[in-house]
């Protein structure tokens, strides 16, 4: 009991530090993780065993893949091509960018997509002389939606995928349909909100149309090879069940292969710049902290409370998890939230003791955490990254400004998710 309280205190303190950003979140998570060991709640061996290395190496492998893909210039090519297909018309650019962002986020992850696309959109808006902030906000929203659609799109889904028996295709069958519905309806909202707002002169449009995006692809053989490796990786993920390999092995294989194919003697640069060690160690720390709550029995207690509150009804539990995670994820980083929720839902699974009844609960958790991230400026990593880029370029997005728009899309997303869960699983 004393150890449980101690673990809970460390957990709460760490999460407060992460949420208030009083220090770097990785630093907070690592300190919390090792405090667990120092205070004797768990042995070092146990604490390190708690780290889900499948998630860690999956992330590193994906970072390798993306670092090579980025160099081919293909994403910039896509973005500029998109703006040209829209003939420089702002509303069309916004809608097409929304789709491209959602699509790329489903494959590359939301944060990476935002880091690649936001600078280009700032450039395009600058050339067209229109305000970029609505574009940035809608793209962030799209990235969190796209990320929710697949197992590899958003960190919460990676975590869920790794600690359950769900595979890439399960995510595709269960999450992609509702996300497509949500994306379509969101485009409707964009049309309603912005259709009369943006005007562009022909001269500025002409400047955009004069971009020579073809010259962005400097190394065509590398592009073709990376395309093939990416396809192989997605195929392997889809056939994971038959192949019998875990996701980390697949992404590391793809990543290492691409590194050999691109600059096999210069990996230091990739390790220094393209592997996001802050995220990696943040995850490691979180795994250790959350494990201490499992070991000391707190998670089991909390799971029991949820079962009691919902009378063990999967329907009520799903709705509760969906809305609870939607609201929580809007205000705290969804990664630490889902890291704590996963063992709780797992414990509920053993209590309910009916595997098929757990499906809607897991999918509710995935949809709630990923889509809830759109609720406020600080709901997901992609939001923070995008706002940071905008800020550095003199475009200040306030918490209120983001939240007003974000809330509209989040409510719409969660409502559609709730209807989907109720209709499909009950």
């Amino acid at each position: 009991m004393f150890l449980m309280l101690l673990a809970l205190v460390i957990f709460v303190l760490t999460y407060v530090l992460i949420i208030t950003e009083w220090m770097n979140k990785m630093l907070a998570a690592m300190i919390g993780g090792f405090m667990i060991v120092v205070t004797g709640i768990m042995h070092q061996k146990e604490a390190l065993m708690a780290v889900d290395w499948n998630v860690i190496f999956f992330l590193i492998g994906m970072m390798f893949v993306i670092s090579v893909l980025k160099k081919t210039g293909v994403f910039m090519y896509m973005a500029i091509r998109t703006a040209k297909i829209a003939k420089g018309k702002p509303l069309w650019i916004m809608i097409l960018m929304f789709l491209i962002t959602a699509f790329l986020s489903a494959i590359l992850g939301s944060v990476t997509t935002i880091m690649i696309l936001v600078p280009i959109v700032l450039l395009i808006c600058g050339e067209l002389k229109i305000a970029p902030i609505p574009f940035i906000i809608t793209m962030v929203i799209a990235s969190n939606m796209g990320g929710a659609a697949t197992m590899v799109g958003d960190p919460p889904n990676i975590l869920i995928g790794s600690s359950t028996s769900y595979q890439f295709l399960d995510f595709l069958f269960n999450l992609t349909p509702p996300v497509m519905l949500i994306t379509a309806s969101s485009i409707g909202i964009i049309w309603l909100m912005y259709r009369h707002k943006m005007r562009v002169s022909n001269e500025n449009r002409a400047r955009l149309m004069s971009y020579r995006e073809d010259s962005l692809i400097k190394d065509r053989p590398l592009l073709i090879r990376s395309g093939i490796v990416l396809l192989l990786m997605l195929t392997a993920l889809a056939m994971q069940g038959t192949l019998g390999v875990e996701t980390a092995t697949i992404s590391m294989s793809a990543g290492l292969l691409l590194l050999i194919l691109s600059d096999r003697k210069k990996v230091e640069h990739v390790l220094m710049n393209d592997v996001d060690w802050v995220t990696i160690f943040f995850f490691i720390g979180l795994f250790m902290i959350v494990e201490s709550l499992v070991k000391t029995g707190f998670i089991g207690m909390a799971a029991k409370q949820i079962i009691i509150a919902t009378h063990g009804e999967p329907k009520a539990a799903s709705m509760m998890i969906l809305w609870l995670s939607g609201v929580f994820s809007a205000f705290i980083d969804n990664v630490p939230f889902v890291a704590a929720m996963i063992p709780m839902v797992k414990t509920m699974g053993t209590m309910i003791n009916n595997p098929s009844a757990m499906h809607p609960i897991w999918w509710s958790l995935a949809l709630g955490t990923c889509l809830g991230g759109n609720g406020t400026l600080i709901g997901a990593s992609a939001n923070i990254v995008a706002v940071g880029i905008a800020n550095r370029n003199g475009f200040h997005i306030s918490f209120k400004q983001f939240t007003i728009i974000g809330m509209i899309f989040t409510l719409n997303s969660l409502l559609i998710s709730a209807i989907y869960i109720l209709l499909r699983y009950f």
Partner: protein, 288 residues
């Protein structure tokens, strides 16, 4: 001791004649060839130091000695923009660079000693000068510091200098970087040509992997539309590494190579003391 106003060539010629009279048998070359060698060195790079001394140095093959010839001038002479009141010509063998550097350091130390300089300038002949210097008890083992070779009165700009004025300064002085100081001479940062160009290149462009698709970029071409309103403080680098005036030459070279920076502000306790460039070190120390 010369009171007429002479040219540099005349000063060197006088010194050469005196040397050749007294050391005819030691010097491998004498007369016009020796003068030509001195002038050649002088044309390569300025020999003048901010404390008002010029130290031309020539190396002679097969000259197993070190010779120092001093010439004091009543009227300071303009050496490439630095007013020089005495010249110390040093002749060494091709291989004795360490001793030479120590002599330079010692001479620079002397040139900063105001009281001593006044006494030296009062002397009328070589014997008197020798006597004064001997009384100082000089031992040649002093090391060179940045304060000895830096530019001690660099062109500076202020945080409120406009882009237009900055541009004008770059043109007149033909230099690409300046230290930024406040009205009390406190060091605030540095500003250079890249900071100026950065005005037309927003952050997001730097985040793109490559810019091959762009033919031109309007904001870059229009930097100077805002030249009256943009101030140095908007674009200067605030976190710059500086050097202390008592830093050694190797320390300065180390920092220059480490940070790939060819130009350093010399700052003591927050006050700008001067600037040092890699070229200064190369010309005045290494190649000298």
């Amino acid at each position: 001791m010369e009171s007429r106003i002479l040219t540099r060539e005349q000063v060197y010629e006088n010194m050469m004649r005196k040397l050749c009279e007294t050391h005819k048998h030691d010097l491998p070359i004498c007369g016009m060839p020796l003068l030509e060698k001195i002038l050649e060195r002088d044309r390569e790079a300025s020999t003048a130091y901010p404390s008002g001394i010029a130290i031309p140095h020539i190396r002679l093959d097969g000259f197993q000695d070190t010779l120092i010839s001093l010439c004091f001038m009543q009227n300071p002479l303009d050496f490439d923009g630095t007013m020089v009141s005495w010249v110390a010509l040093i002749i060494t063998d091709k291989s004795s660079s360490r001793l030479y550097l120590n002599i330079v350091a010692e001479l620079l130390g002397l040139s900063k000693n105001q009281a001593l300089m006044e006494r030296l300038l009062r002397e009328r002949d070589g014997v008197g000068i020798k006597h004064v210097i001997a009384k100082e008890g000089i031992r040649v083992s002093k090391d060179i510091f940045l304060s000895d070779i830096m530019i001690s009165d660099p062109v500076v700009v202020h945080p409120d200098t406009t882009l237009k004025e900055l541009n004008a300064l770059m043109n007149t002085h033909n230099i690409a970087g300046f230290p930024v100081v406040d009205e009390k001479g406190r060091f605030k940062g540095e500003v250079n040509i890249l900071n100026l160009l950065k005005v037309g290149v927003p952050d997001y462009l730097l985040m793109l992997e490559n810019l091959a698709f762009l033919q031109s970029y309007e904001p870059l071409e229009k930097i100077f539309e805002q030249e009256e309103s943009i101030l140095v403080k908007d674009l200067m680098d605030k976190d710059v590494i500086t050097l202390n005036s008592n830093a050694s030459i190797i320390e300065a070279v180390y920092e220059m190579i480490l940070h790939k920076k060819r130009y350093f502000s010399v700052v003591d306790q927050g006050q700008l003391k001067g600037v040092i460039t890699a070229m200064d070190i190369f010309r005045k120390v290494i190649k000298a």
